[in-house]
């Protein structure tokens, strides 16, 4: 495919997915009504339509689609960056323990304060701390060899997994336990614009950083020695990328809960479509991740009606699609 076509597709496809998700749901709304609502909101003129239609399109479906795009994009771009950084295609956005850390933070906030905005703060702080701890463990030899970082991440993840189990164990089964379990499965439901505002700042910073650094990830994937001899300081550049991915992932996880799969498989799907050069792979992962999560969320709305946690559907939908792509592209050169 032509590079320019791919670039245009990458930019417009998330927008198409966001807009089309405004039509999808149990309450039927016509194309004309959606456009009319969008027009009135964008031009700041009052709409002539009934309040409930305006509210469904603008206050329920729109923020949900926007958050889906943000979270999906953030998880996928972080996964792609980590795969390059760790020189390992089996690594996902959560390799340094950010998800488990955030999960424990959320569980702790639910135990202490019930369902409140403390969940965001705790999830974000604990997610970030988990990565920091993994990084410090990885630095025992004063350098940051990749394998030590992965090992550090594994250790920290398992500690926080144990802490999550402990939080579930002591939680009140009547309400707290349910909230914790539901949070851990991930959800985009009942999202408000305030949630998006919370998520967009760290995700925005992280994603912009990764896009700016994307070519350097190619060089870092040659390994520390070669990156150094090519003029890229491995420790400094790895540090910046870890910070960016952590901001993006923690920002996503703290509002949506733990959504697996996207950060591992979307980068692979992107690899099969655009190749392995991170210059194009990183933005492609961002766009595909955004589209994928909106798609899965809509699918959930259509087929189940009830709010099935999105973390379940991502794997159920993504798995077969991945196998199909694997067959049709013969794996893309692996």
């Amino acid at each position: 495919m032509n590079k320019r076509i791919i670039r245009v597709l990458l930019i417009i496809s998330p927008i198409i997915f966001i807009v089309s998700s405004l039509f999808i749901g149990r309450y039927p709304i016509t194309v004309h009504d959606v456009i009319s609502v969008l027009w009135s909101k964008l031009t700041f003129t009052p709409s002539s339509l009934p309040d409930e239609i305006v509210s469904i399109v603008w206050d329920i479906r729109m923020p949900r689609a926007l958050l889906g795009a943000l979270v999906g994009g953030a998880l996928a771009i972080s996964g792609a960056s980590f795969q390059g950084l760790f020189r390992n295609p089996l690594v996902s956005a959560g390799i340094l323990g950010v998800s488990q850390g955030a999960g424990f933070g959320a569980a702790l906030a639910i135990l202490l304060f019930g369902t409140s905005s403390y969940i965001y703060i705790f999830a974000f702080i604990f997610g970030g701390s988990a990565v920091l701890l993994s990084y410090l463990i990885g630095r025992v030899y004063k350098t940051t060899p990749t394998i030590m970082l992965v090992l550090g991440g594994t250790i920290i993840s398992s500690i926080f997994t144990a802490l999550i189990s402990f939080a579930k164990y002591v939680a009140d089964p009547a309400d707290q336990l349910q909230s914790i379990v539901f949070w851990l499965m991930g959800s985009l439901a009942s999202v408000r614009y305030e949630d998006i505002l919370i998520a967009v700042i760290p995700i925005g910073i992280g994603v912009s950083g990764l896009i700016a650094m994307r070519w350097r990830i190619n060089v870092l994937s040659m390994g520390d020695k070669e990156a150094h001899s090519l003029g890229i300081d491995p420790a400094l550049n790895k540090g910046i990328i870890v910070i960016c991915t952590t901001l993006a992932t923690a920002g996503a996880v703290c509002v949506s809960g733990i959504i697996g799969w996207v950060g591992l498989i979307i980068p692979h799907i992107a690899r099969m479509i655009v190749g392995n050069d991170n210059r194009i792979l990183i933005p492609a992962s961002l766009a595909l991740g955004a589209c994928f999560l909106i798609f899965v969320d809509n699918l959930g709305r259509i087929i189940t009606g009830a709010e099935m946690p999105i973390g379940i559907l991502t794997a159920l939908v993504g798995g077969p699609f991945f196998v199909y792509l694997l067959k049709s592209t013969k794996g893309g050169g692996w």
Binding site: R87, W215, S221, M222, G223, S229, G275, N276, G333
Partner: protein
């Protein structure tokens, strides 16, 4: 250009090499010859600033390597590693273009000018036809030429090569050697290379290049000098425990071609 003063390096408690001093001038070749495990690679990595010396110093243009950042070293020295683990199936061009990293600032990607330099380097080593192939699918020899092209794209005055012709067939081996000869003659490239083939030193001498051979043994250089002086049968016996003959062949154009022929392992 490079000056090494009484350099020593330890790994844990074990001395890898000690008290090494030598000097390399611009436009010269230094071949480091020695048995497996004698510390050649470690020494090269110290010159590149990957490993830090325990004592002594390594100077590039009179600046201690310790005080230089990766980017400053990479503007002076390019590196062809002995082993390269292939991870993602990048295309050949994507690999070679990484040689341009040091000439770019933090957040930029390669420009058209960089791509032109890359294509020129691919032509220099004769692999322009491979440029869109995934480098994971290349043979070992072709892969080594990709690494050479990447080092050339870095446009440094010095290239360090660690066994650049390991696993290469005659044709690819000669491409590497001829490229080195051409660059030393035309742009005054300086080369430090570790090699298991002392004949490479003779190849460069036969081509009239300024070359020194350093015999590395027992953590030190036992001798440094011109190939025809240093690479004699006595030294080969001490270095590799082999009996060998140094033969000389008179070419049609009158030049002399020297080669080492290994005969047998020494009767101890």
């Amino acid at each position: 250009m490079i000056k090494i003063n009484e350099a020593s390096y330890k790994y844990s408690a074990q001395n890898i090499f000690e008290d090494i001093s030598l000097e390399i001038n611009e436009g010269e070749i230094l071949c480091i010859v020695g048995p497996n495990g004698c510390g050649k690679t470690t020494l090269l990595e110290c010159i590149l600033g990957i490993n830090k010396l325990n004592s002594g110093s390594i100077l590039i243009h009179n600046t201690d390597i310790k005080s230089l950042k990766s980017a400053e070293i990479a503007k002076q020295i390019a590196f062809i590693p002995q082993m390269h683990d292939k991870t993602f199936p990048y295309t050949v061009r994507e690999i070679v273009i990484m040689g341009r990293a040091v000439h770019m600032n933090m957040f930029s990607s390669p420009s058209r000018a960089d791509i032109e330099i890359v294509d020129e380097c691919l032509c220099t080593v004769g692999i322009e036809k491979l440029k869109d192939r995934p480098y994971t699918q290349l043979s070992g020899g072709e892969g080594q030429l990709v690494m050479l092209a990447r080092a050339l794209a870095q446009k440094t005055p010095l290239i360090i090569m660690d066994e650049p012709t390991a696993h290469l067939d005659f044709n690819h081996e000669l491409i590497v050697l001829e490229t080195i000869v051409k660059l030393v003659k035309t742009v005054g490239l300086t080369v430090i290379m570790a090699t298991h083939f002392p004949n490479h030193a003779f190849y460069f001498e036969n081509n009239g290049l300024p070359i020194n051979v350093g015999l590395m043994n027992e953590k030190k250089f036992s001798e440094i000098g011109a190939p025809s002086r240093v690479l004699n049968e006595e030294n080969l016996k001490n270095l590799f425990y082999i009996n060998a003959k140094v033969v000389s062949y008179q070419m049609e154009n009158g030049s002399e071609l020297k080669q080492i022929i290994p005969i047998s392992t020494k009767q101890l």
